[in-house]
Symmetry: C2
Subunit: 648 residues, 2 copies
C-alpha cells in the first residue's frame, strides 16, 4: 500500500493558493507595496512514504501473526480465557474496566488519518483513497491488539511498533513542517493528534513493560471489573447510603472542574461508568471538532487576511465598474473596503467560536442524557424523553446499529459543525451589515430605508398584538369566586372579527419565527443522536435517533451491571464455598436477586419464598438475564441441586 499519507510532500510542486495575490498584480499607486508571500520550497522526504508504508504494513502483519500464535498457544493451555477466535481482539467494547485510554488514543490516530487522507490532494486515483478507509484500521490494528493481549511479548511488540510509527512521523514533520496545502502549517497542526497519540503509545508500552518487570502490574482486569460492578451494585442497592454517597473528597480534580463549569454534571452519580463506546464516541467528537475548526479557519482566515492586505485603489475601480461607489475619496473607499473585509472576518471567527461552544455544550448535555437513559433502561424504567422499548431480544438491527453508532456520532458532529458555521456566519454577516454598521456608523441604511416605508404596517401589527393582550387581560377576564372567567363575549367576538386580517399578518411574522426557530433548533441539535429531530410520535423515523435507541438496547442487554456481577461471581469461584466467600465480600443482603440459587439447605420455607420472589422480580425487570441464567445453571453450578425456578 504505497503512496498513502504524507505522499503529498514527496512530489509537491510549489503551488501557491494565496488568491489574495491577484490583487497585487497591478501597480500599487498609493506607494505601500504589500509584502510578497514567501514561497515555500518543494520538500522531499529522505525516507520516501511509499517505503515507510511498505515496511510498516509488513511489520504490522508480522505482529498480528505473532500475537495470533500467542493467543493460540494460550488457547491450548487449560486455564485459557481468550476464546475461539485466532485473531487477537482489538478491544472489548462491552467491558468498561479494560481501560479506555489506549482505545481512545488509537481511535484518535485513526480518525486523524481519515481527515488527512481526504484532504490529501495528491491522492490522484479515487479508489486509493477508498482503500485507505480499510488500510488504516488494518495498519493500526496491532498497535491496539498488543495492549489487549496483556502479555509481555505483546508489550514488547507494541513498543517496537509505536516507536517506529512515532519516529517516522516526527521525522517527516521535522523535515517538512510547512506545506503548500491550504495554509502552510495546516498539515502540521492537523497531524498534532496523530503525533500526540503516537508519543503517548511510545511511552505507555515501555511503562507497562516496566511495571511487569518490577512486579507492579495491577490485578487481572476481570477482578477489577468484578470489584467495580460489586461496588456499583452495592451503592445502587443500599438505600441508606444513597443520600450522602457523594462526598467531595471522592472526586478527582478533573471531575470537580467539570462540576464547576458544567452545571449539567452537578448530579454526579458515584460508581456509574459510561460504556466504552460512549467514551470513544465523545473523544472522536472532540477530535472532529478540532479538525473541522482547524480546516474551516485555515481555509478562510489566511485568504481573507491576505486579500485585506492587498486591497489597492484598483479595487475601487473594479467596484465602480459594477456600479458600487463607496466614497468619492479613493483612500476612504479603500479604508471602507478593508473595514468591511475585517467585519466579514470577525463574523466568521465569531460564528466558528459559537459553533464550537454550542457543539461542546450539546455533547456534554448528550452525555447526561445517555447516563439517565442507561440507568433508566437498566431498571427497565421509561423516562419521558427516553427512547421507547424496541421489543424483546436482540435483533440483527440492534447489532448493526451498535456497530455503526460511533461512526455516526463522529459524522454527525462533523456535519453539524459545518451546518452551524454556515448558518451562524450568514446570520452574523446579515446582522452586522444590516443592523450593526447602520446603527454605529450610519452607513448601508438599507434596512432602515425599508423600515421607513413599511413602518405603519409593523406598527399596526405591534399595536394589534399589544391591544389584544391588554384586552384579554383587562377586558375579557373577570375574577369571579376566585376563578378567572370569560366576560364581555360580544366585544371579544367583535375584536376577533375586526382584527382577523391583522392577525393573518401577525401569523405570517410568527410563521417566519417558527421556521427560524425550528431550523436553528435542528441545526444546533444535529450533533446529538439522543434527540430526534422529528416531532413526538414519529421520532423513530430519524435515522440517527433510531441508531441511538438500538445502540442503547444492545448496551443494556450486554453489559447490565447485575448480569456482569453475577457472571463474574459464578466464573471466579468453581465451588459453592467460594460463592459463599464472595457473598461475604459483597455483603449479605446487597445483591439478593443474584445469589439466591445456592442457599437452599439452611433456608426456611419463608426465606425460600422470598428468594424466589427476588429471582422472579429480577428476571421480570431484566428479561435479558433469562438466557444467561440457564447457561450459567448448565455450567459450573449444575452439580448442585436446584430449587425449581418460578415461572415469571
Amino acid at each position: 500500500m504505497p503512496s498513502l499519507a504524507s505522499a503529498n510532500q514527496s512530489f509537491g510542486e510549489p503551488e501557491d493558493y494565496s488568491y489574495g495575490e491577484w490583487y497585487v498584480d497591478g501597480p500599487t499607486s498609493d506607494g505601500k507595496a504589500p509584502q510578497p508571500e514567501p514561497i515555500i520550497p518543494a520538500c522531499y522526504h529522505s525516507f520516501p512514504p511509499s517505503l515507510y508504508h511498505t515496511c510498516l504494513a509488513s511489520l504490522s502483519l508480522a505482529t498480528v501473526l505473532v500475537l495470533s500464535l500467542l493467543v493460540k498457544r494460550r488457547k491450548l493451555c487449560p486455564k485459557c480465557w481468550n476464546g475461539t477466535f485466532g485473531l487477537p481482539s482489538p478491544v472489548d467494547f462491552l467491558a468498561t474496566e479494560s481501560g479506555w485510554l489506549v482505545p481512545v488514543v488509537v481511535f484518535g490516530i485513526l480518525l486523524t488519518n481519515l481527515y488527512m487522507l481526504f484532504l490529501d490532494e495528491d491522492f490522484s486515483p479515487g479508489y486509493l483513497k477508498t482503500l485507505g478507509l480499510l488500510y488504516y484500521p488494518a495498519l493500526y490494528y496491532p498497535l491496539m491488539a498488543c495492549a489487549t493481549v496483556r502479555h509481555q511479548a505483546g508489550y514488547i511488540l507494541g513498543c517496537l511498533l509505536s516507536w517506529v510509527h512515532c519516529g517516522v512521523q516526527i521525522w517527516y514533520k521535522v523535515e517538512c513542517p510547512r506545506t503548500t496545502k491550504i495554509y502552510r502549517y495546516y498539515s502540521l497542526l492537523a497531524s498534532l493528534p496523530l503525533l500526540a497519540g503516537l508519543v503517548f503509545l511510545s511511552c505507555w508500552y515501555p511503562a507497562q513493560l516496566l511495571r511487569i518487570w518490577t512486579g507492579k502490574m495491577a490485578a487481572r482486569p476481570e477482578e477489577v471489573e468484578e470489584s467495580y460492578y460489586g461496588d456499583y451494585l452495592r451503592r445502587l442497592l443500599s438505600k441508606k447510603k444513597s443520600k450522602s454517597s457523594s462526598p467531595e473528597t471522592d472526586r478527582s480534580f478533573l471531575s470537580r472542574a467539570l462540576l464547576y463549569f458544567l452545571p449539567h454534571i452537578s448530579t454526579w452519580q458515584p460508581g456509574f461508568r459510561f460504556p466504552l463506546k460512549l467514551i470513544l464516541s465523545v473523544a472522536m467528537a472532540v477530535i472532529t471538532i478540532y479538525q473541522v475548526t482547524l480546516l474551516l479557519l485555515a481555509a478562510f482566515v489566511p485568504i481573507i487576511q491576505k486579500t485585506r492586505a492587498g486591497i489597492t485603489v484598483e479595487v475601487t475601480y473594479l467596484l465602480a465598474g459594477f456600479g458600487v461607489v463607496l466614497s468619492e475619496n479613493k483612500t476612504e473607499a479603500i479604508d471602507l473596503v478593508k473595514h468591511y473585509l475585517l467585519t466579514v472576518e470577525v463574523c466568521y471567527e465569531s460564528a466558528m467560536t459559537l459553533s464550537c461552544l454550542l457543539t461542546f455544550f450539546m455533547l456534554s448535555k448528550s452525555l447526561m442524557t445517555h447516563r439517565a437513559n442507561l440507568r433508566a433502561q437498566q431498571c427497565a424504567a421509561l423516562l419521558d424523553g427516553s427512547p421507547p422499548p424496541q421489543g424483546k431480544g436482540l435483533r440483527a438491527t440492534t447489532i448493526f446499529c451498535w456497530m455503526s453508532f460511533m461512526g455516526y456520532q463522529t459524522a454527525f458532529v462533523c456535519l453539524g459543525l459545518f451546518l452551524q458555521q454556515i448558518i451562524f456566519f450568514f446570520g452574523f454577516v446579515v446582522f452586522s451589515f444590516l443592523v450593526f454598521i447602520p446603527i454605529v456608523y450610519g452607513r448601508n441604511l438599507l434596512l432602515l430605508r425599508v423600515l421607513g416605508s413599511t413602518w405603519p404596517f409593523f406598527l399596526l401589527l405591534v399595536l394589534a398584538v399589544i391591544l389584544q393582550n391588554l384586552a384579554a387581560r383587562w377586558a375579557f377576564l373577570e375574577n369571579r369566586h376566585g376563578q378567572q372567567e370569560l366576560t364581555n363575549k360580544k366585544a371579544l367576538f367583535a375584536i376577533t372579527f375586526l382584527l382577523f386580517l391583522v392577525n393573518v399578518m401577525v401569523g405570517i411574522t410568527v410563521g417566519i419565527c417558527r421556521m427560524v426557530v425550528s431550523a436553528l433548533f435542528n441545526v444546533v441539535h444535529f450533533c446529538q443522536l439522543d434527540r430526534s429531530l422529528l416531532s413526538r410520535g414519529v421520532d423513530i423515523w430519524d435515522p440517527g435517533y433510531r441508531t441511538y435507541c438500538y445502540y442503547l438496547k444492545m448496551e443494556v442487554s450486554q453489559s447490565h451491571p447485575i448480569m456482569k456481577a453475577f457472571c463474574f461471581l459464578l466464573r471466579q469461584l468453581p465451588g459453592s464455598q467460594g460463592l459463599a466467600g464472595s457473598q461475604a465480600a459483597l455483603g449479605p443482603s446487597d445483591i439478593e436477586g443474584i445469589h439466591m440459587t445456592r442457599t437452599k439447605s439452611p433456608a426456611t420455607r419463608a426465606k425460600q419464598s422470598r428468594i424466589r420472589w427476588g429471582l422472579a422480580y429480577t428476571l421480570i425487570r431484566n428479561p435479558s438475564l433469562l438466557a444467561f441464567r440457564k447457561k450459567a445453571l448448565a455450567g459450573p453450578l449444575a452439580n448442585g441441586s436446584q430449587p425449581s425456578p418460578p415461572k415469571p
Copy 2:
C-alpha cells in the same frame, strides 16, 4: 376610505409584464415569428371605485347604527337575551349551532379582499394598504351582523347591503374582465371567491326573509343547540349504543364520499361537531390554497410559455457567449432549449400539484387530530400526542391565542405552500436534469460522470453496510434456548474496529438523509398547528403549537358539551316542573351528572349518595364547571333547598 380595492383599474397604464418579449426583439432568423401578445386596452370603470367605497362605507355605518338601535330596543324589553354591548355581535364563535355558513362566506370574502389588496400595485402609499387591514373587516361587519341579530329588519338590511356589494362587484368584472397585472385573467380568477360569496349572501338573505314571512322559520337557535348537546351527551353517555352507533344510513352523501377518499375519517363519530373556529380556519385554509396556487401559477406559467414560444437562434449565441454550447446544429440547439424550458414548466406544475395535495391531506389529518384532542380534553384524558395541560383556569394568554388562532392557521398554510413549492420545484428540477434526462435522453451526464469517478467509494459504503447486516444476522446472533443471543464477540469487535472509518463515511450519508428527512418533514407539516416542529420535551417552544394548545384549552373550557347542556337546561325552565319535563325528554338515566341537584324530595338516601358521587365526579373531571355551578345556583335555582355540595 376612497381608492381602495379595484382602484387599480381606474388609472392603470397598459404596462406589459411579459418578460418573454425580450427574446423577440431581435430578427427571427428561422422565419417563424411568434405571435405578438395582444395589448390589453386601459379600462376605466364608469362608476369609480372611490365613489363605491364612499357609498358602501356610509351604508355599512348606517346599517350598524340601525342594528345597534335594534339591539338596544330589545335590551329594554324584559325578555331580552342580547347582552350589555350595544354593537351587534358579528358571530358567536363559541356556539356550534348558530350556523357556520354565513360566517364562512363572510370570512372568505374578507380573506379574498386581503389577497387582492396586497397584490394591488397601484396602492402607492404603504399606510393605505395597512389601513385596508382594518377597513375591510369594518366594511363587511354589518353583512354578518345582520344575520346574527335574527330579526326581520336585520334580514332586510342584509338583503340591501349584499345586493349593492354584489351588483357593483359583478359590474366591475363585466366592464373590465382583463387586467394588465400578472396575467390577464388573474384578477378575475382571484376575485371568484369574493363574487361567489356575495352571490350566496344575496340569495341567503331573501331566503331568510321568505322563511320568516311564510312562517317556516326554524326553532330558536338555543333550542336547536340544546337538542344537539342533549343528543351528543346521550350518545356519549349511553354505553350500549356506542358499539353500533354509526349505521351507514345516518351518513350524508358528502360524509360517505369523504369516508371513501380519506381513510382518516373512517372512524366517524356521530353527534360530534367541530367548533366554529375550526370550521372557519379550515375554510380559510382552503381559500388560501386556492389563492396561493393561482398566484404562483399565474406568475410563472404564462411567462415561461411566452419565453418558450419566443426562443430564437439569438439565444444560442447568448448561451455560447457564456460558454454553453448545447449542439453544433442551431435548430437542434433551439429545440433543446425549448425542451429544457418545457421540463422546467412541467416540474413547476408537478411541484404545485404535489404541494396542494399534501396541504389538503395535512389539513384533513389535522381535523382528525383536532377532534381526537377535543374529545380527549373534554374527558380530561391525555392522548399520547396531545398537548400537555396548561394549568388550571383561564389566562390572558389563553384568550389571546384563541383570538389569533384562525389568522395563524391561514398564515401558516400560505407560508407552508410557498415553502413546499420552492423545495419541491427545486427537487424536481434537480431530479429531472440530473437523473431523468440523462437516463432517458443520454444528455447532461454530470451525475453519471461524478458517479463514474467515485463509484469505488459508494460501492465500498454499500458493501460495508450489507456486510455488517449480514454478519449481524448470520455470524453474531445465535439462537440459544429460544432466545437470540450475541456470539462471536471477538469477531464483532474486530469488524467494528476495522470498519470504523467506513462507518464514519456511512454516517455522513445517513446524516445528509437525516437533514433531508427532517427538513422535508417540517416543510410538509408546516401548515399544521396541532403538530410541533420541535422534538419531544421542547415542543411547546414552537409558537404555532403553543397557540394551538391554548386555543384548545379555551375551546374546551368555554364550550364543553356537558356545561352547555347544563346551562341550557337551567335557563330554559324556571321551575322544577320544567326540569322534570326536560329530564323525561332527555331520558331518565342519560345525563346523571347534570340534573342531580333538583331530585331531593323523592330520592332515598342511597340514591342521593349516588347523585352526590355523580356531582363530585363531574366536577373533578371538569373543573371548569365549578364557577358556572355556583353562578347557576345563585341564579334561578336559588329558591329551592339544596343538598350541601360535597367537597371534591
